[in-house]
């Protein structure tokens, strides 16, 4: 932030907003990590805990909504301040979605426990999760430090997630074709992977909002995309695809 406002309580309000966002981001990151480790370790207790904790993220989002409305009404923020307030609103809604996806991962984990373990899929998902988790933590740093470069990096990082998602998609399709009994577990894993990929997209949103916050305009160029899962076709007998 630039030097403080003449009206100091305005600074206090903005700082409170930022700290709420950072608390929310920390919680979302932990939710994601917990849900993935619950999945990989088949930890029912942890999964239930993740589902339980999602409520907290929803509450934080509502809190940010209230703060934003109040500041718009009372402070009439301009320029940088206006962007800070708007961006906080958008980031909080992204983070809330991150929490929702993590919760979904945990739910599916509970179901997966009744199915057999599928090949290396779990470890790929864990890798995706750790990348996305790192993205969340980086994007929060970028947000707190108004670091456009770091935000750009986060945005680029999403390519890796997309790539992993595409290959996992192919892998799981192959498993399903090999043995129809794998279908239940694979489908759930597909959704879990999709959830994590979506989380990556939301984090990318946040990165773009950080750029808007700092630079005052939207990031130039299209978002890098490398998720080919929507166009992937695997036919029986084709193992090279």
């Amino acid at each position: 932030m630039v030097s403080g406002h003449i009206v100091k309580s305005f600074d206090d309000d903005l700082n409170h907003l930022v700290s709420t966002i950072s608390e929310m981001a920390g919680l979302a990151e932990r939710q994601l990590a917990d849900s993935i480790s619950a999945m990989s370790r088949r930890d029912e207790q942890l999964a239930a805990n993740v589902i339980e904790q999602d409520k907290r993220l929803d509450d934080l989002e509502a809190d940010i909504d209230a703060q934003v409305v109040r500041m718009l009404a009372l402070r009439q923020p301009q320029a940088l301040d206006l962007r800070a307030v708007l961006v906080a609103l958008k980031i909080s809604s992204d983070l809330e979605r991150v929490g929702d996806y993590a919760k979904n991962v945990a739910k599916r984990t509970l179901t997966l426990m009744q199915a057999p373990v599928i090949g290396q899929a779990t470890s790929t998902i864990v890798r995706m999760g750790s990348i996305v988790g790192g993205m969340i933590s980086n994007v929060v740093d970028a947000y707190l430090n108004a670091d456009v470069v770091k935000a750009q990096e986060v945005r680029a990082r999403d390519l890796d997630v997309d790539q992993l998602h595409s290959s996992l998609f192919r892998e799981l399709l192959t498993y399903m074709m090999e043995d129809p009994r794998n279908i239940t577990a694979c489908t759930h894993l597909l959704f879990i992977a999709k959830n994590i990929e979506r989380i990556g997209d939301h984090v990318t949103n946040i990165a773009e909002n950080v750029h808007f916050l700092v630079a005052g305009e939207n990031i130039a160029g299209d978002r890098p995309k490398n998720d080919l899962s929507s166009s992937t076709i695997i036919t029986v007998g084709d193992k090279t695809a």
Binding site: V2, H5, Q78, R83, G216
Partner: protein, 259 residues
């Protein structure tokens, strides 16, 4: 969006304008284009020179002893500080509305009729009446004063007085109207009326307004120029200035960090 409309026609143009009060330099190196039929807002902290610049546009600074203006200011391409320019004629072309409503202590009618009368704009009483009624109508005041044109101008409320002053200014058919914090002495309702009026007047006049209220600048103007410590820091479309100013000083001022 307004950026493209800027290119329509520049009404007034200031180049390298320096203003001194005695030894003290009040403005340095001002370059500003004022587009026709737009409202240009001049904002900035007190003492930043925005009123000084406004008063350069109709040479009201001439009446201040020791005030010296350098550089060039042209209106429709003609230098208003050249020897050929008669200052009285200039002021008839460039009207002005002041911070505090300052109607003459005369009747409402006389207030509006004074300008046209000294400029010989009406051949007879009928024409003068028409000008007065027309000006009051355009200032949105006619319905409130129709039945008491002979009442003293000072008997009106503050907001009505200010609109009377606007009617007085437009009665001499100026091309530009300069407004020096026209709402600073008015309540919010009267302020809103003036702002609405400014928006209507934009069709026929080029308006330059100095205001301390950034919200007002944002509401009424299409172009905004930010002055700070005698310099023109930034000028641009109002929208851009208030959402994404380029200069950090502008940013700091409009977000309430310097004043």
């Amino acid at each position: 969006m307004p950026e493209s409309r800027i290119n329509l026609h520049v009404k007034a143009l200031a180049r390298a304008v320096n203003v001194f009060y005695g030894e003290k330099q009040a403005l340095s190196g001002i370059n500003l284009d004022i587009p026709e039929n737009h409202v240009t807002a001049l904002i900035g902290p007190s003492g930043c020179g925005k009123s000084t610049f406004l008063r350069c546009l109709n040479r009201m600074n001439d009446i201040i002893d020791g005030c010296r203006v350098e550089g060039s200011i042209t209106i429709d391409g003609a230098d208003i500080y050249s020897k050929e320019q008669d200052v009285v004629q200039l002021r008839a072309r460039v009207g002005m509305v002041f911070q505090k409503p300052n109607p003459f202590p005369k009747s409402i009618y006389e207030n509006v009729a004074y300008g046209p009368r000294i400029h010989g704009m009406a051949a007879n009483k009928k024409q003068l009446d028409d000008i007065v009624i027309d000006s009051l109508t355009r200032a949105g005041l006619i319905n409130e004063v129709n039945d008491r044109l002979d009442a003293p101008g000072t008997s009106l409320s503050g907001g009505q007085q200010q609109r009377l002053c606007i009617a007085r200014a437009i009665a001499v058919r100026p091309e530009m109207i300069l407004m020096d914090e026209p709402c600073s002495a008015l309540d919010p309702i009267a302020t809103a009326r003036i702002e609405e009026l400014i928006d209507e007047l934009r069709d026929n006049f080029t308006i330059v307004i100095v205001t301390h209220s950034m919200q007002q600048a944002a509401r009424v103007s299409q172009r905004t120029a930010f002055f700070h410590l005698g310099e023109l820091v930034e000028t641009g479309a109002t929208e851009q200035i208030f959402t994404n100013p380029r200069d950090s000083r502008t940013q700091a001022y409009i977000t309430g960090r310097i004043g």
